[in-house]
């Protein structure tokens, strides 16, 4: 019982800490890793709450794929939340009708 309480509180602390870290961290790559940690803890939660199907889905989609598409996005855009804007005019592509 005591072990369970410690375990659950540990999970709660990790998941909330990771969420807060993901929000306050200015370096987006670290923030995204933190969301990966959230997914990981979430998947542990699902597993111990007897939802192995959901845990597997969260592990495959939440930890691996969501994280990677975030990383790809960051590589294509800017990595810092407090980026310095480039003073360029927006460039538009021409549209075919």
């Amino acid at each position: 019982m005591i072990f369970n309480i410690i375990f659950f509180s540990l999970l709660a602390i990790i998941i909330l800490a990771a969420a807060i870290y993901a929000v306050v961290q200015k370096d987006l790559l670290y923030a995204v890793i933190a969301t990966g940690v959230i997914s990981l803890v979430l998947s542990i939660y699902f597993f111990i709450m007897q939802a192995p199907d959901v845990a597997l889905t969260e592990a495959a989609i939440g930890i691996a794929l969501t994280t990677i598409i975030f990383v790809i996005t960051i590589r294509n855009t800017s990595r810092r939340e407090d980026e310095i804007p480039v003073n360029k005019e927006p460039d538009r592509e021409e549209e075919t009708k």
Partner: protein, 494 residues
């Protein structure tokens, strides 16, 4: 194979999965297939509406062989059938209008037609389904198709509008998920008829919380204040057939879900007052905002929001006549606003700017298009003898019957505002000084055809409202008869 409501979902999905393959065979198939599917669905609508009208009983289709409440079911009643038929009719016309869309660019054309067809399927599914979580799934289908279509064009602020829409839409779906979860914990089922049957067992506090979550989640698609920040941008940045689709289908699906939740699922009287209040706020803010707009499409978008506020007020009054008026207005709004969007997009296309000022005198150059736009403008403000007149009249009578005179005054006042800003555009079209910068693009044959059909429908309903009122009356009765809905759905196979 007997014709049944599931055709509305299964066939578009089959076609959508097939289209990437068919695109490799022949480019033209990408354009033809959605039309074939939609035309077939129109035929299905005619057959099913006939069946429903003859028997007076809704068609309830079980899926996967499980009766309600164990499985998901589709309900094609006189009410949902009316809405679905309207949606499919409008979708077919919009398809004809946009047949030559993206003629040169093959890849985007494929995506456009797939997304458009799924937008239609999602909206139809929201109306047909009898299961609350299934409704959520269809809403997400509609939503993802809308986000992508809103940001379809690269040469305007499409991505910005799409992102705003996505932001609000995701928050909405979160609220809806929470509401579904809480509802499930309270009644232990997801079937809407069974939820309605067991609703009286739910504690009042919980009921109110769930209702508020639902209203927040669903009010977004229904463009209810203050959740409609996405609408003006989405309407003005999306390709114009998509704008017409938003007005004719997506918003209707949103209003339907809101109405279904309040009228059938819940038994809270306060919800009706809430609808009236939110409707009035939505109406007033949107109509005054519309007056300030210089961009034609934004003006049409705000006007659309205002009309939805009007619909919400009418539903909020809650009497049979008011519901009749509201459904009539939904019908009118679908056809009129689509006509306005189609002809309006033609003006935008032919003038150098999107501003109303840039369109001055364009009606002289294109008298027929100007004529169509004017019909739409006169109809939507509710002038006789156009169809919009009748719906406004019925709602006013319903409000007066309930001795809500303040409401009547507000509606009339707002109508004046509406008249002012629509007439300003019409006057500009005809009496403005023509600018010589215009580039002439003739609309396609399909464009002419669908706009003419819409104008004819507006005039026809305006002169002979009886051709449509029978259906709407029966639809209103079906919506208000909650007991029949529950017993019809749950008695299947018992």
């Amino acid at each position: 194979m007997v014709i049944s409501p599931v055709h509305y979902i299964a066939l578009p999905l089959l076609a959508a999965f097939l289209m990437p393959l068919l695109a490799k065979v022949n480019r033209e198939l990408v354009r033809i297939i959605p039309g074939v599917v939609l035309t077939y669905l129109l035929f299905v609508s005619v057959v099913l509406m006939q069946r429903v009208t003859e028997t007076g009983q809704p068609i309830i289709e079980t899926l996967a062989g499980w009766q309600a409440p164990w499985g998901i079911n589709l309900v094609f009643s006189q009410f949902t059938g009316f809405l679905v038929s309207l949606m499919v009719f409008m979708a077919t016309l919009i398809w004809i209008f946009s047949y030559r869309f993206k003629k040169v660019d093959n890849e985007p054309a494929l995506k456009y037609y797939i997304l458009f067809m799924m937008l239609v399927t999602g909206s139809v599914g929201v109306v047909l389904t009898g299961d609350i979580f299934n409704m959520f799934v269809f809403m997400e289908i509609t939503a993802i198709a809308s986000y992508s279509l809103t940001s379809f064009y690269r040469d305007r602020d499409g991505a910005e509008a799409g992102f705003k829409y996505l932001l609000i839409g995701s928050l909405a779906s979160t609220f809806m998920l929470l509401a579904i979860l809480l509802l499930y914990t309270q009644v232990g089922t997801l079937n809407m008829a069974m939820i309605a049957e067991r609703m009286h067992t739910v504690p009042v506090g919980m009921k109110v919380t769930i209702l508020i979550l639902f209203l927040t989640g669903l009010g977004i698609e229904a463009e209810m204040f203050p959740l409609n920040g996405w609408a003006p941008d989405a309407y003005s940045q999306a390709p114009s057939p998509v704008g017409a689709t938003f007005a004719a289908l997506v918003v209707k699906a949103g209003v339907y879900s809101l109405i279904r939740v309040i009228f059938t699922l819940f038994d809270i009287q306060g919800a009706y007052q809430y609808l009236i209040i939110m409707g009035i706020i939505t109406l007033i803010i949107a109509e005054f905002a519309a007056m300030k707009q210089t961009n034609l499409k934004r003006m049409l978008a705000y006007s659309s929001i205002g009309q939805m506020g009007f619909v919400l007020i009418a539903f909020g009054i809650g009497t049979k006549e008011a519901v009749f008026g509201a459904l009539f207005l939904m019908f009118n709004h679908a056809i009129i606003k689509s006509l306005l969007f189609m002809s309006g997009s033609f003006f935008v296309y032919n003038s150098t700017s999107k501003d109303i000022n840039g369109m001055s005198g364009i009606g002289k150059k294109f008298p027929y298009m100007g004529f169509l736009f004017s019909i739409g403008a006169f109809a939507i403000v509710g002038l006789p003898p156009f169809s919009g007149f009748w719906s406004k009249l019925y709602i006013l009578i319903a409000a007066a019957d309930e001795s809500m005179l303040a409401l009547v005054a507000i509606i009339l006042l707002v109508s004046i505002v509406e008249i002012v800003y629509y007439f300003r555009v019409v006057a500009k079209l005809y009496f403005g000084k023509p600018t010589d910068k215009e580039v002439v693009h003739k609309p396609t044959f399909g464009g002419y055809f669908s706009m003419t059909v819409l104008a004819v429908v507006i005039l026809l309903v305006g002169f002979y409202p009886d051709i449509i009122t029978g259906f709407i009356h029966r639809a209103a009765d079906t919506l208000l008869d909650k007991g029949a809905y529950i017993s019809n759905v749950l008695s299947m196979g018992h």
